[in-house]
C-alpha cells in the first residue's frame, strides 16, 4: 500500500529526513518510535502532504502511484489520514460541520452526491458512541478549549468518520488517561481490517499493548536505524535509545 523509498525532506534548507525506507502492506500495523526531534512528525506530515516540507530526494508511493505532486486534500481523498500530535484549534467551525464538510468534499472528489442528512446523523451517532464522545461536544468549535485528551479522542473520532486506508497516529496516546487510552485504542482496533493499515507513532509501550504492531521501527536523525517485531518496543521501553545510538555510531 505505502512504499517509501530513500525519502529525504528538508525545511528551509535544513535536512530533517535523510533517507527513509519503509513499506507498509494492507492489514499491517507499524509502530515508529525514536527520540524527540528524530523526525517522526515530519515523516507523518510529509506523507500527509504538508507543503512546508520539501522532498529533496526519494519517493512516496501509494498503491504504486507517486504522490509527490498531490495536494494534502487529494491524499486525503485517496485514504491517507493523519491524527495530529498537536491538533489545531479552529474557532467558529463546529466538530459536526467540519466533519460534514470533510466527508462531502471527499465524496465530491469521488464524483458522489452529498451524503443525505439522515445518513450523516446516523454515522455521527454511531462513531461518537464508538469513541464514547458526548453529543454536546460535537457542536463545540473544533478543538477550541478541548483538553489534551479530548483533542486526541476527537482525532480518532474523525478517523472513524472518514474510514481511511492508511491512518498515521502521531502520539495519539499522549495526553490520554488510562480509560481514554483503552477507548481510543479499542476504536482504532474496531476500524482495522485486512484492507487498511495503521502507522502508530509513540514513545510508549502501553499503547502498543492495545494496538499490537507487526513491525516496530526506530527513527533517529531522520533515518530508520533499526526495525524489528513487537518485542523491539519492549526492549526500548527497558533500555532507552542509547544502545541503538551506539550501534549506529559503530
Amino acid at each position: 500500500m505505502l512504499k517509501i523509498k530513500n525519502l529525504h525532506a528538508s525545511v528551509e534548507d535544513k535536512a530533517i529526513l535523510r533517507g527513509i525506507n519503509l513499506e507498509v502492506k494492507p492489514g499491517e500495523v507499524h509502530a515508529i518510535m525514536g527520540p524527540n526531534g528524530s523526525g517522526k512528525s515530519t515523516l507523518a506530515s510529509v506523507i500527509a502532504g504538508k507543503e512546508e516540507y520539501e522532498v529533496t530526494e526519494g519517493q512516496i508511493l501509494l498503491n504504486d502511484e507517486d504522490i509527490d505532486e498531490l495536494a494534502a486534500e487529494e491524499r486525503a481523498h485517496k485514504g491517507i489520514f493523519l491524527s495530529f500530535q498537536y491538533p489545531v484549534e479552529i474557532p467558529g467551525v463546529s466538530v459536526t460541520n467540519f466533519m460534514k464538510t470533510a466527508i462531502n468534499e471527499t465524496r465530491k472528489a469521488k464524483g458522489l452526491e452529498d451524503m443525505p442528512a439522515n445518513e450523516m446523523l446516523k454515522l455521527i451517532r454511531e462513531k461518537s458512541e464508538l469513541l464514547e464522545i458526548d453529543r454536546k461536544f460535537l457542536s463545540r468549535s473544533l478543538n477550541e478549549g478541548f483538553s489534551g485528551g479530548e483533542k486526541k479522542r476527537n482525532e480518532i473520532f474523525q478517523m472513524a468518520m472518514l474510514e481511511p486506508k492508511l491512518a498515521i497516529l502521531d502520539e495519539t496516546d499522549s495526553g490520554l488517561d488510562i480509560d481514554a487510552l483503552r477507548i481510543v485504542a479499542n476504536g482504532v482496533n474496531k476500524l482495522k481490517s485486512k484492507d487498511n493499515a495503521v502507522i502508530v507513532i509513540t514513545h510508549y509501550q502501553r499503547l502498543l499493548d492495545y494496538i499490537v504492531p507487526d513491525f516496530v521501527h526506530v527513527l533517529h536523525n531522520g533515518r530508520i536505524v533499526k526495525s524489528g517485531g513487537k518485542e523491539l518496543a519492549h526492549e526500548l521501553e527497558e533500555k532507552g535509545y542509547d544502545w541503538i545510538k551506539e550501534e549506529v555510531k559503530a
Binding site: K50, F84, G92
Partner: protein, 437 residues
C-alpha cells in the same frame, strides 16, 4: 463646475423650493456656510489620511433628480429581508416610494423626514432632536443643508416594536450621476425596543454618491439594534455618518456589513450620556477588486459604569484597501468604564492593504480598556489541518474566513439577517456553506 460650487449654488435653488419659513431654515443656512468654508475633506486631514474622495467627487452629479421613478417590487425583492414581516421606508433616487413602503402611525411613527420637518405636530420633536448630535464637520453639514428626506422613526415609551423596520434607498440610473443626501432621525423613548435595517442599493452602473446622516436617540433603558447592509455595486459610494446619543441603561448595537460599493466610509459615533450604558459596534468587511472601506468609530464615555464593545473583522482581497480608525474617549468622570476594542484583518492578496489605528484617550483612572489590532494571513497550520481531512484549499480558506467573521454574526439578533449575511459571506468567499456553522 466643481461639485462643491455646484452644491452651493444648488442650495439657493433648494431653499426656494422648500419652505423658507421652515423651522430649520436657519440650521440649513448655517450648515451650508460650514460646508462652504471647509469644503470636502482631503487626505491632509488626519481623519481622512487614508481615504481620498477625489475619484468619487469628479462626476457631474445631479443633486435633485428630475423625475419620479418607480420600480416593481419583484425586481428588487431580493434586496429586502423579505422572509419576515417588517415596516419599510423605501426611497427611489432620494424620493419616497409609497408603493414599496409600509409605514405606520399606529402607536409609533415610522414615516418620513419630510413630514416630520413640515407638519406642525412634529415641530417639538424636531426642535428637541434635529441636528442636536450630528457633528459640524463638512460632510455632515452638507447633509444638514440639504436635509429634506429620509426616515423618521419615533417610538414612545414602553413599546417593543413588533417587527423590524427596513430603510432602503434605491438609485435607478435615470440620472447619469446622482448624489443623495438622506437624513434620518430616530427617537426611541424609555424602555422601548426597536430593530432597524438600513441598505443603500444602486441598480445602475451610473455613479451614485450617498452622503447619509442618521441621528439616533436612545432614551433610558431603550434597546436599539441597528444593521447596516452595505453590499452595493462597484459604481456606488457611501459616506455614512451616524450619531447615537444614549441615556442611562440603554443598549445600542450597530452591525455594519460591508461587502460592496466602490468607496464606503462609516463615521459611527456613540455618545454615552448616562450610567450603565452598553454600546456595541461590530463589523464584517469583505471586499476585493479596488474597493475601499473605511471604519471611523468614536465611543465617548462620559459617565461612570458603562461599557463599549467594538469588534471589527476585515478580509481584503485583490487590490482592496481598508481603514479602521477606532477612537475611544473616557472622560475623567467616567470611572469603572469597560471599553473593549478589537480589529482583526486578513489580507488574502499581496496587493491588498489595511491601515488600522486605535486611538485611546483615557482621562479616568479606574477603567478597563483593551484594544488589539491584528493583520495576518490565514493560519497555515489550520489550513493544513483542514486539507488533510479532504477539504480543498479554496473551501478550507472560505471556511476559515467564514469562521473568522463568525463572532460578529453571533450577536445578530434577527435570524433572517444572520442567514442572509451568512449567504453573502459564503458567496463572497466562493464557498458553498449550505448550513449554519
Amino acid at each position: 463646475m466643481e461639485l462643491k460650487e455646484k452644491l452651493i449654488s444648488s442650495f439657493l435653488a433648494f431653499e426656494n423650493h422648500v419652505d423658507i419659513d421652515s423651522p430649520i431654515h436657519d440650521v440649513r443656512s448655517e450648515a451650508i456656510k460650514i460646508f462652504e468654508t471647509q469644503g470636502f475633506p482631503t487626505k491632509k486631514e488626519e481623519a481622512w489620511k487614508y481615504t481620498s474622495l477625489n475619484s468619487i467627487l469628479k462626476h457631474d452629479y445631479s443633486v435633485f433628480p428630475k423625475n419620479e421613478n418607480t420600480i416593481e417590487y419583484n425586481d428588487v425583492k431580493k434586496y429586502f429581508i423579505h422572509d419576515i414581516d417588517s415596516y419599510k421606508i423605501v426611497f427611489i433616487d432620494g424620493k419616497y416610494s409609497s408603493h414599496l413602503s409600509q409605514t405606520t402611525h399606529d402607536g409609533i411613527d415610522v414615516c418620513l423626514m419630510s413630514s416630520a420637518l413640515n407638519k406642525p405636530k412634529y415641530q417639538l420633536i424636531i426642535q428637541n432632536y434635529f441636528n442636536k448630535i450630528a457633528s459640524k464637520d463638512s460632510l455632515t453639514s452638507l447633509n444638514t443643508a440639504f436635509s429634506q428626506e429620509g426616515a423618521y422613526i419615533q417610538i414612545p415609551k414602553n413599546k417593543v416594536v413588533d417587527k423590524p423596520i427596513q430603510i432602503i434607498h434605491f438609485s435607478t440610473g435615470n440620472e447619469s450621476a446622482l448624489m443623495q443626501q438622506p437624513r434620518n432621525l430616530i427617537v426611541v423613548n424609555e424602555n422601548s425596543h426597536v430593530q432597524i435595517i438600513e441598505r443603500h442599493q444602486s441598480l445602475t452602473e451610473n455613479p451614485v454618491l450617498t452622503n447619509s446622516v442618521t441621528e439616533i436617540f436612545a432614551n433610558k433603558r431603550a434597546i436599539i439594534d441597528y444593521y447596516k447592509v452595505q453590499n452595493d455595486n462597484e459604481h456606488a459610494s457611501l459616506i455614512d455618518n451616524t450619531f447615537i446619543n444614549q441615556k442611562q441603561e440603554s443598549h445600542c448595537s450597530v452591525h455594519t456589513f460591508s461587502f460592496g460599493g466602490k468607496l464606503t466610509r462609516n463615521n459611527l459615533n456613540f455618545y454615552q450620556n448616562g450610567e450603565r450604558i452598553d454600546s456595541t459596534l461590530k463589523g464584517v468587511t469583505i471586499i476585493g477588486n479596488k474597493q475601499h472601506v473605511d471604519h471611523n468609530t468614536l465611543v465617548h464615555h462620559i459617565e461612570p459604569n458603562c461599557e463599549s464593545h467594538q469588534d471589527y473583522k476585515g478580509i481584503f482581497n485583490d487590490s482592496s484597501t481598508g481603514v479602521f480608525n477606532g477612537k475611544v474617549v473616557v472622560n475623567k468622570e467616567a470611572q469603572k468604564t469597560n471599553a473593549f476594542q478589537a480589529n482583526n484583518n486578513i489580507l488574502v492578496s499581496d496587493k491588498a492593504s489595511i491601515n488600522t489605528k486605535p486611538q485611546l484617550e483615557i482621562f479616568a483612572d479606574d477603567v478597563k480598556c483593551s484594544h488589539g489590532c491584528t493583520i495576518g494571513q490565514l493560519d497555515e497550520n489550520a489550513m493544513f489541518y483542514m486539507r488533510s481531512r479532504g477539504i480543498p484549499e479554496k473551501e478550507a480558506k472560505g471556511l476559515l474566513m467564514y469562521a473568522f467573521s463568525n463572532n460578529v454574526l453571533n450577536s445578530v439578533k434577527i435570524p433572517e439577517i444572520k442567514q442572509r449575511i451568512t449567504k453573502i459571506i459564503a458567496t463572497k468567499l466562493g464557498v458553498n456553506i449550505g448550513f449554519d456553522l
